[in-house]
Symmetry: C2
Subunit: 308 residues, 2 copies
Amino acid sequence: MSSDPGAGLALIDDEMVPVSEARLPILDWGFLHSDATYDVAHVWQGRFFRLDDHLDRFSAGMEKLRMRIPHDRDAIRDRLHDLVAAAGLREAYVEMICTRGQPQAGSRDPRTCTNRFLAFAVPFIWIADPAKQETGLHLTISRMQRIPPASVDPAVKNYHWLDMVQALFEAYDRGGETAITVDAHDHVVEGPGFNLFVVRDGDLATPAIGVLPGVTRRTVMEIGRAHGRAVDAGPVSAEAVRSADEVLITSTAGGVMPVTHVDGTVIGDGTPGPVTRALRDAYWALHEDPRYSLAVDYERAGGDRDGD
Amino acid sequence: MSSDPGAGLALIDDEMVPVSEARLPILDWGFLHSDATYDVAHVWQGRFFRLDDHLDRFSAGMEKLRMRIPHDRDAIRDRLHDLVAAAGLREAYVEMICTRGQPQAGSRDPRTCTNRFLAFAVPFIWIADPAKQETGLHLTISRMQRIPPASVDPAVKNYHWLDMVQALFEAYDRGGETAITVDAHDHVVEGPGFNLFVVRDGDLATPAIGVLPGVTRRTVMEIGRAHGRAVDAGPVSAEAVRSADEVLITSTAGGVMPVTHVDGTVIGDGTPGPVTRALRDAYWALHEDPRYSLAVDYERAGGDRDGD
C-alpha cells in the first residue's frame, strides 16, 4: 500500500485498500437505489465500544432487507479488527456496509443480486469536537419531515439522507450548525447522524418513534437511569426542545454533545449544563469498562489479510 | 478499452470506461448519504427521445439540491451523445448523475464537497419487454407507503428506493411481478421506476401528488388529450385501480406497458386493452418525429473523448 494507512483503510470485495482508493461499482444498487444498510462502531484508546450491539443491529438490518453475506458475525468482527489494526488507528470511526449488489444484465429483479459487504476505518469523526463541546452546538429545528417509518424502517440504519442534507443547508442559512428533523405532528425526530435528548427538572426525554435506536442513545438512557433520573422515550415537541433546561445530542460520531442554542434562542444559561456534563463523563468512562469495550489486537496488523 | 463497448460505457471524472469497470469512491455522499440526483433518457433506433425534457429536470434537481457541476446543459448533452456513439448503441438506456462528492477530511459539511458528474449508457432496459407486453404485467398494490413529498421532493429524481425494493419483494411473495406504492390515504402513488394510469370509460387518470413527473407520463397525457380523452391528474384510489377498465404503467424503461392483473384480479378481459395499445403505438411513433427526437451522431465515436 503506497499511501498512509493512518488516513484510513477500506475492505471491499475482501481486498484491503487505502480508503481514498476504495470504489464501488456504479451499477451496484447500493448506489443506484440506496439499497443498503450499514452500521458505525468506534474505537477509543484502542478499544471497540459496544461492538456487539452494532453487529446485532447490522445483522438485523440485513435480515429485514433480505440480504445475505458470506461472513458470519465473528467473521465480520474479525474483519473490522483487522482494518483498525492495519490502519494503526487508536481512535477510529468504523463503518460496515452491506449493499444489494448488481442484478443480472438487463434485469431489475433484486433477487438476482449477490449482496456485497464492505467496510472502512478512518480517524475518529466528531459532530462536535471537544473544543466545540465546551461552547455547545447551535441547533435549528428543521421544517423538513424525516422520512417516516411507514416508508423506511428507521431501525434499519440507512443512507436515505436527502431530508437530512436539506435540513443541514436550511440550518446553515439560519445561522445554525446542525439540525433536527420533525414528523408530521411537529415532534422532533432525529438529526443527521444523531439522536436528541432534552433535560427538564433533572429528567430526560428522547423521541421514540421514527428514530434510529442509537447505541449511544441507549447508553445515555442506561446511564441516566443509573443516575436515578427518569428517562421518557416518547413524543418530544419542538416547543419542549426550545424550553428545555438542557439539550444534548448523541452519536457514535462524538458521543454526548451539548446543544446550547436552538433556533437562535439560548438554552439554560447558554453553556453546557451539569446533567449533560455528567452523562458525557460517564459515557466516556464506560470506554475503559471491559463489559462495554474490547481491545483491538494491533498485532494483527501485517497479518495475512493485510494488503492481500 | 479491452471489453465490448456494446455492453455499455460510463463517464466518470470525465474518463470514459466500460460500465462494468466504472466505480464511485465509497466516501462520496452520493453513496454514503444517497445525496444525488439523476435522470434517465433513452435512445431508440439511433435517436434520443425528449432529451431536453430530461436535461431540464436534471438541471432543476441539481439546483434544488444546491449542486453545481462544471458542465452546462450543452456540455452534458454532448457527453451523453459521445457515450452512446462510442458504445455504438442504437437502443440505449442513458443515465446522467450528479453526486454531492466528498467533504473535506473530518468534516460533515456538504458545503465543502465538490459535486461530481457521471453518466452511463447501456443497452435499452425494459420493465416489461415486448413479449411480456403481449400478456401484460401482474401488479400488486403494496402496503409500503412511498416516501412522502414532505420528506423528499419527488420532482428531484432520486435514489431513495428502500420502500420500492421492499414493495418488489412483497410483490414477488404475493405472486406479482411488480408493485405500486401507496400514500397514507390508500391512494396509489408510483412504482419502482414508473408512473401509473387507469382507464375508465375511455378516459385516463394518473396520480399527481408524491410522484415523479415522468417524461413518459407527460407524453401519455399529451397523446391521450390529442386522442380526445379526458386526462385527470389527481388522487387515484387502490380501489379505482382494481376496478379499472385498463391499467398501464409508463417509464423511460419500456414506454407504455399494460397491466392485466392487479393483486391477482383480472383487469378487463385479462389482455392489454385497446386504449393502452393505441397509446403505446402513438408513443413509439413519436420517436421518429423530429419535434420529439434527435439523431445521435455515431461518427462521434472514436473522437477525442473516447477512451481518454
